[in-house]
């Protein structure tokens, strides 16, 4: 018998139908994967199962008894824990306090931090999270915060654990560790619901698969063993085409739109270089950037990076791979102006050295697309069009002192259409979009600024296979129009399929640069972990 079952669930947000008639049942000791494209209603369904959202219709059964959770706290007391897609943590409290938001062990009226620590340490150990429990949460990276959220759910000793895209921010090693934790839970007869867009891990981990499309179940609790990856993708996307390789451009509109941009860009590019002409003085060691390449020459930073030299031409996508702290992120930060270039130099396509500070490098044509969309990417309370206008029109003031809303809306609409953004209108509040669609808005706002250097940090975090291919095609066409693109990704498959070359970092140095036939997931992972070419 199912521990937790949702039946005939319906949920409408005003005009938007999030769930039409959906259901799922969770068995003890089994991992149930819940799949579907962005906006299919996955998060809504599991929020309903964990008491975060009340359904308009339908029933929830816990051990065969109908239940109605008032909030997530009540669900947790009854053994249903959720790790939600958008993290719900307190940035100003320390890690330990975040692990016990309500019901920590107490001694008299006081919280018992010693007992809390004792309980928490093995769980963090299991997840491989090596931070002091006293660290302020806001100082952790997105991946670390994700692990804290998972640890918090595990500490409630749930009978049903619901994970909404738990690995989207994790690099391979920690994702693997998490998947092992899930396997252990399965052995302990916990029922697990697992939402993910990374199909490889779904196929490796899950026992049963349910697929949602447009708020309805299109594939119900099929045994994973009886399914092929292709069947799953077809169920998810329906007749929408899934493009496996981002490199092969889509025949549809995105590319044409990209071409139109290409026609505009050379003039702008020339403008940029002309502006820097005399002021720059003598030609640097890296030489005049007549070819508009991004040049990193012998760059280093104490304890993080040493002697990194890379040249990326316009039209090229360079991947930066590595384990956490191996220097690939730091390289991205160097170019973004977020980290000082201590030795060597970094020159932008204009030929100028990268300026100090993020703001100046953005003004110099650098775009920084972050996967941490809630924190660094979006104004959730603002309409979509205001977010898309934020860089070019608002921060850089390229559209003049007076902004015309109609024009900005129009442009946002174009971007939305190009990205197949799923929204009621561009006036919709961005926080109401599904996770993957929010991520598209982040990319749109940077492409709107026509950058000369595009820095991507997990740009497709939480984006479904179909939309991922579309975003890859957009990144491709923006790059082909003359942008230098650098990509960091926790998704090795993305690195292998989207990039022309991949620089693999090991302990602060570039261990190898892969291209052509050499460029595949297997090689990247091997060098990432061993440093051996």
């Amino acid at each position: 018998m199912a521990i937790l079952e949702a039946r005939n669930i319906g949920k409408t947000y005003g005009g938007v139908v999030a769930l039409k008639d959906a259901g799922i049942h969770v068995e003890a000791g089994s991992v149930h994967a819940l799949l579907g494209e962005n906006g299919a209603g996955k998060s809504t369904l599991i929020k309903i199962m964990s008491g975060a959202v009340t359904p308009d219709r339908g029933r929830l059964l816990l051990n065969g008894q109908e239940v109605r959770f008032r909030d997530t706290g009540e669900a947790a007391r009854q053994g249903v824990a959720i790790v939600s897609q958008e993290l719900n943590l307190f940035p100003d409290l320390d890690v330990l306090a975040n692990l016990y938001p309500v019901t920590g062990p107490r001694r008299g009226p006081f919280v018992d931090r010693a007992a809390m620590t004792e309980a928490a340490e093995p769980v963090l150990e299991q997840l491989g999270l090596k931070v002091s429990l006293r660290t302020r949460l806001g100082d952790l990276s997105l991946a670390q915060r994700q692990l804290v959220e998972i640890a918090r759910a595990l500490l409630t000793r749930p009978r049903v654990l619901i994970l909404d895209e738990p690995t989207s921010a994790l690099e391979q090693a920690s994702a693997d560790r998490l998947l092992n934790v899930v396997r252990v839970l399965r052995e302990h007869e916990v029922g697990v619901v697992f939402v993910s867009h990374i199909l490889e891990e779904v196929m490796a981990l899950s026992d049963v698969i349910t697929v949602l499309r447009n708020g309805q179940v299109v594939m119900e609790a099929r045994e994973r063993g009886t399914l092929s990856m292709q069947e799953v993708v077809t169920a998810m996307l329906g007749d929408r085409p899934a493009q496996e390789k981002g490199r092969t451009p889509l025949a549809a509109s995105p590319v044409q739109a990209g071409d139109a941009e290409a026609a505009v860009r050379p003039a702008e590019g020339a403008d940029r270089t002309a502006g820097t002409g005399g002021a720059d003085g003598p030609v640097g060691r890296a030489g005049r950037a007549a070819d508009g390449a991004l040049r990193i020459v012998d760059a280093g930073a104490q304890g993080v990076l040493a002697d990194v030299s890379l040249t990326v031409r316009p039209g090229e996508i360079l991947g930066l791979a590595g384990l956490a702290g191996s220097g690939h992120q730091a390289t991205l930060e160097l170019v973004a102006g977020l980290r000082r270039v201590e030795t060597g130099e970094v020159r932008l396509p204009s030929g100028r050295p990268v300026p100090r500070g993020l703001r100046r490098s953005i003004a110099a044509g650098v775009a920084v697309v972050s996967g941490d969309r809630r924190r660094f990417g979006l104004m959730l309370d603002k309409p979509i069009w205001e977010n898309i206008a934020q860089v070019r029109a608002v921060a850089l003031g390229r559209d003049g002192a007076f902004l015309r809303r109609t024009a900005l809306r129009e442009r946002a609409r174009d971007h939305g259409e190009r990205m197949s953004l799923r929204c009621a209108s561009v006036d919709q509040r961005t926080g109401l979009l599904s996770g993957g669609n929010q991520q598209k808005v982040v990319l749109a706002k940077w492409l709107d600024a026509n950058p000369s250097v595009l820095l991507l940090d997990d740009p497709t975090r939480g984006v479904d296979v179909g939309a991922k291919a579309e975003m890859h095609a957009l990144i491709r066409s923006a790059t082909e129009a003359g942008t230098v693109t650098l990509l960091c990704s926790t998704d090795v498959e993305e690195l292998a399929s989207l990039c022309d070359r991949v620089a693999v970092f090991y302990r602060g140095k570039v261990a190898a640069t892969l291209a052509g036939d050499d460029l595949n997931q297997h090689r990247i992972l091997e060098i990432m972990n061993t440093g051996q070419d």
Partner: protein, 356 residues
């Protein structure tokens, strides 16, 4: 197809059942545009309703309250807090608060008076006083930036510093003996077309600030910072620079208010403007500028200031003992914000129905 699905091929027609306002054939991206445009006008709705209602209620009981002269006097009395509240709305929308506005107002006013007594032409003194306000705002900004403390803390200190300077410069005495026949006093302190000049200035400044906040990239920057400071910084907006600009603007507004005040009162008390900071904050909040930042309404803030003035003069009409006036003002503030939260909740429901 149930959810508004915007596939690669046009699906506008398929969306129609779920798009309440958009007819078939219209892109889903275009819907609800007109609705969104109406929303800003509604932000300051509740304070307008409250103000008009209060005026009508007092007017019914005391009909002479509704005379043009009385109403204009009341408006005139609200000009100073109104100007400060307009600037405060900018600050609050970027999650900042300036506590020194009352003191900047007082110090500018005293300085103008003293300069005039030194023989400066009143117009020149007025101009210098306005600029002084700007400088005081700049000092606030520099303190915030270089000591690295929150604006509210920095201005808590300069609240005392500026007031102290005003008292010290005037030796605690009233500044009097103004050449009241000078055009500075007759024009700025007088009337144009039957309406006090300061009211005209308030109207002009309100329009100007509204345009700046709503339609310029600067205004968008201010609100972007309030909406999500990290995302604003990561989009290339310099929070420091914008904060400095807004604090200077705040100082300039205090200076303008001071010039109008000196011209109207023709004398300066070193304690003038004490408590204006809280009134300006209250006015902005009553007007519908939320403390969480991200949005603001200058019109609402100015009307918040007017509402406070209506309460003030209403109390006199009802012969409420002076000792109860604070209590009554507080009660009215509470009423006004309750009304606001009620209207807001209704609007949010309507938005939710449209999936906004």
């Amino acid at each position: 197809m149930s959810v508004n699905d915007v596939g690669t091929e046009g699906t506008a027609a398929a969306d129609a059942p779920n798009a309440p306002e958009g007819g078939p054939g219209r892109s889903p991206y275009g819907r609800a545009g007109d609705l969104a445009r109406r929303v800003p006008a509604m932000e300051s709705m509740s304070v307008l309703v409250a103000t008009v209602a209060l005026v009508v209620v007092i007017g019914v009981i005391h009909p002479d309250f509704l005379s043009a002269g009385q109403l204009l006097d009341m408006l005139q009395a609200s000009v100073y807090v109104g100007l400060l509240a307009g600037g405060m709305a900018f600050l609050i929308s970027m999650r900042e608060i300036d506590l020194s506005v009352g003191s900047m107002f007082g110090l500018s006013l005293i300085s103008m008076g003293l300069l005039i007594n030194q023989g400066f032409s009143p117009w020149l003194a007025g101009l210098l006083g306005v600029l002084l306000g700007g400088v005081l705002g700049l000092i606030n900004a520099l303190v915030v930036q270089f000591i690295g403390i929150p604006t509210i803390v920095a201005t808590l200190a300069t609240l005392s510093v500026y007031r102290g300077l005003a008292l010290a410069l005037s030796e605690g005495q009233q500044v009097t003996g103004m050449p009241v026949d000078d055009s500075f006093f007759t024009i700025l302190g007088g009337k144009v077309l039957g309406v006090q000049t300061s009211i005209w200035v308030l109207v002009a400044v309100t329009v100007l600030l509204t345009v700046v906040l709503r339609f310029t990239s600067f205004g968008y920057r201010v609100r972007a910072i309030g909406s999500n400071p990290d995302a604003a910084t990561f989009s290339g907006i310099s929070a420091n620079r914008v904060r400095m600009q807004v604090l200077v603007l705040m100082g300039l507004l205090a200076g303008v208010a001071a010039a109008l005040g000196l011209a109207f009162f023709t004398s300066g008390d070193p304690n003038i403007g004490t408590g204006f900071e809280l009134q300006a904050i209250a006015a902005a909040v009553i007007g519908g500028t939320p403390l969480r930042g991200g949005t603001a309404t200058v019109v609402g803030a100015v009307f918040g200031g007017i509402l406070l003035a209506v309460v003030g003069s209403g109390l006199q009409y009802f012969n409420i003992p002076v000792n109860w006036s604070s209590f009554a003002t507080g009660a009215v503030i509470l009423l006004a914000v309750s009304l606001d939260s009620l209207l807001r909740r209704r609007r949010r429901r309507k938005d939710a129905e449209l999936g906004l």
